[in-house]
């Protein structure tokens, strides 16, 4: 059972990564084209992903007593405060600068998009700076 739980995380991530590669989101140029309104494909990606995730998040806790491999259903609670919005604004500036976000930065390595290693290095550094100097709550 325990091994199965790890396999479940690996398979979930793999579906996610396969989808990122298929939708070409691991190409920063495609994301930048969206931000410049040249190609609105990213909206289809986001819409498709939210649609399926919404069904799972809303239906599973109503139809199942607990997750199929045990444990409990988590609930995501986002907080509306200055950190959430200021962080989002800073994140967006980085996203607009390079066309990379965390998921594609990781997944892109599987498709041999090696320059993304530089972005990964930056993301790890940024995450460290946040935890080191602005730990907050």
């Amino acid at each position: 059972m325990s091994a199965l739980r790890w396999v479940a995380a690996l398979v979930s991530g793999s579906l996610f990564g396969f989808g990122l590669a298929w939708s070409t989101m691991i190409r920063p140029e495609v994301v930048i084209d969206f931000l410049l309104f040249r190609d609105l494909g990213l909206l289809l990606v986001l819409g498709g992903a939210v649609f399926v995730a919404l069904l799972c998040y809303q239906l599973a806790p109503r139809l199942l007593r607990q997750p199929l491999l045990g444990g409990a259903f988590e609930h995501r609670r986002a907080v509306l405060d200055r950190r959430t919005l200021l962080g989002a604004a800073i994140f967006g500036m980085g996203w607009g600068l390079c066309g990379v976000c965390p998921g594609p930065a990781i997944a892109g390595l599987g498709a041999a998009n090696w320059p993304l290693l530089i972005a990964l290095l930056g993301i790890f550094a940024g995450a460290y700076l946040q935890g080191r100097f602005f730990p907050g709550r």
């Binding site: 995380a9 498709g48 990379v100 599987g110």
Partner: protein, 155 residues
């Protein structure tokens, strides 16, 4: 008319998006976990930093599955690449990837979510703060991308 907005076509975007949602959904149905991706970049620091912030239970207790989930992202993209892909390496200059990366890591962790955490998981959880976060980062990203274009910095 609609095709003008999708010069590369629509199918691969939609299919890819549905699969991304299936990955997030599978993690939830099987294990009850909310699969954002930016927390991985903080929880992984808990392996090497003894600072109390990184040693919190929400990072130490989830770093294992988050690392496996991240490995899955690489694996899934590799499978696609081996089956259908052509080699592609981004031409975005290194300094943009590095500076952009630092802003992404810092901002996403300050905000507690990125395009996956707020954009997919947050919206699918019907969280209003996540919707506002999405609109905020879309706004600043569109602004920065246009400024880079106007001042003539190549993508």
């Amino acid at each position: 008319m609609i095709a003008d907005f999708f010069p590369q076509g629509m199918t691969h975007y939609l299919m890819g998006g549905l699969l991304i949602g299936a990955g997030v959904g599978t993690l939830f149905v099987l294990r009850g976990l909310i699969g954002g991706t930016s927390t991985f970049f903080t929880s992984t620091w808990s392996y090497v930093s003894s600072r109390p912030f990184f040693q919190q239970g929400r990072f130490v207790g989830t770093r294992g599955w988050r690392a496996v989930y991240a490995a899955g992202l690489v694996l899934g993209a590799a499978v696609f690449y081996l089956l259908f892909g052509e080699a592609f390496q981004t031409a975005v200059p290194a300094w943009r990837l590095l500076v952009g990366g630092v802003l992404i890591g810092f901002g996403a962790r300050l905000s507690n979510g990125c395009t996956a955490g707020h954009g997919i998981c947050g919206l699918a959880s019907l969280q209003l703060p996540s919707l506002l976060a999405v609109l905020t980062f879309l706004g600043t990203a569109i602004l920065v991308a246009h400024v880079m274009l106007w001042i003539g910095v190549a993508a």
